[in-house]
Amino acid sequence: MFSYIVRRILATIPVMAVVALFVFSLLHLSPGDPAAIIAGDTATAADIARIREKLGLEQPLYIQFGTWVWALLHGDLGISIFTNLPVSKLIAQRVEPTVALTISTLIVSVLAAIPMGVLAAWKAGSWIDRAVMVFAVLGFSVPVFVLAYVLIYVFAISTDLLPVQGFVSIRNGIAPFLSHIVMPSLALGMVFAALIARMTRASMLDVLAQDYIRTAQAKGLANDKVLIGHALKNAAVPIVTIIGIAIAGLISGVVVTETVFAIPGLGRLTVDAILRRDYPIIQGIILVFSAAYVLINLLVDLSYTFLDPRIRY
């Protein structure tokens, strides 16, 4: 068990190394002079030279990579070209809204999707099942920003129930925080909920066909006890796995959702960085998001032993 945890943690190192290599080589794989690309179309020769100097582009590649990784390991993500501030500081300033949005989306979609999937599997073939499956296909097909605009139209423009956009920190009160975060969470959570509902249904159908479920029912156990205590507990591993994998999609969605709802998080930082071609910021954000994804999936893998004691390593 302990050796498994150690091995699993060590296995994240090559993955992060590939991520770092990809992020580093992006600038150098692209056609043309990286400094000229970053500087943009209107830059003068002096601008380009200044950027080349700042990024250390005149040194050999392996030295550049070494210095970059060394700085990275010390938490130094470089200096933003546009604002001249450390990237790590810029990212730290923007983390809170993004984390708040991600967590509330996770809560909303898991709380909605798991009961839907359980019900659909229990009443397989019924109208409930059909309705959940229709939701799953639709939820998967309506892009997050389209859904976001539909929600804004319904809840903010035509009824005035919720604020159109913006973000309020939880420290400034729960009510304003919730009223601002609910629409973005619903918009972002739709795809996620569709996926989890579908996986829950499939996993539950598998488990419900097992003998021990029939035994539990035969001995007269109440339906809810069979469904939750016996079935859902045993169906949990695939569901948790898909939640971990789908976090990547969630992160992609965050960028768009923050743009639509004008939330000042990492997604907005990304979009601003693209428009200004502020490459150190883009690199830093990719690294942070990927590290978060790798870490979450590490936790998911480690959770298997607690969810299913039969799994031994």
Binding site: P14, V15, M16, A17, V18, V19, L21, F22, V23, L26, L27, S30, P31, I37, V137, L138, F140, S141, V142, P143, V144, F145, V146, Y149, V150, I152, Y153, I157, V164, R198, A202, L205, D206, A248, G249, I251, S252, V255, V256, T259, V260, T270, V271, A273, I274, L275, R277, Y279, I282, Q283, I285, I286, F289, S290, Y293, V294, N297
Partner: protein
Amino acid sequence: MTVAPTDLAVLAAPRERSRGVWAYIRRHPTIVIGATLLGLMALMAVFAPLLGTVDPQALAPVQRLRWPSATHWFGTDMLGRDIYSRTVYGARVSLTVGISVALLASGIGLVIGLVTGFSRWTDAIGMRIMDGLMSIPGILIAIALMALTRASLENVIIAITVADTPRVARLVRGVVLTLRELPFVEAAHASGTGFFRILWRHILPNTVPPLLVQGTFVAASAMIVEAILSFLGAGTPPNIPSWGNIMAEGRSLFQVAYYIVFFPGAFLSITVLAMNLLGDGLRDALDPRLARRM
């Protein structure tokens, strides 16, 4: 329980599959619905100039921000361009990107999957690289690549392909690893069949069904990613009308003129839905065991 002889006969004789178009539709409704919708979208894209459209880039400042009416079915944007024409032409971008990315990612993913599935040495390296790439959220890969290159339709296609290929490669590798252990492949190997013949006759045909299903889902997600990139200003250049572009231009005006965002958004959703329905249907048709569960 007694069983009447006639019942036994009915059970024994394999029920002849009813033929004809209607029977096919009844068996695979999602394939038919998805394919029909996609066919209509494709026709709309190809025959865009004949569908009562005007030049999608034609400016008419006098007629800017007109609500949908008989002359401008979907209204006009802040430069007076006709949204109906722009939306119809936008189908070209969406379908081109979706289909190109699906074909490219499937082709490249197939090659990587076959090579890594057969050689231990490349597998160790190749799959670590794929794992690394897959832990970067797809849109960020595409955004990073687009931020480096000039905005063009080709670059959008390349950027999304890079992000989508690792998933296909992993799928193909999994299929190859499973097939290699199956008796019919071992038998072919034992009877002296050459490597390339095994690859061509036994392995490749079996990768087609999962690739076909995966390809439709890749196409669906590529269309969404293209729209998102364009919406964020890092995708299709503004001189080509795409659904994401039109929505980006309507973004700041949403509270006063939500129709600008609504029409391209609806077309995008319908197209992605059609692609997903086709994929679901294909998966059910090609893997009946899975069909009952998902």
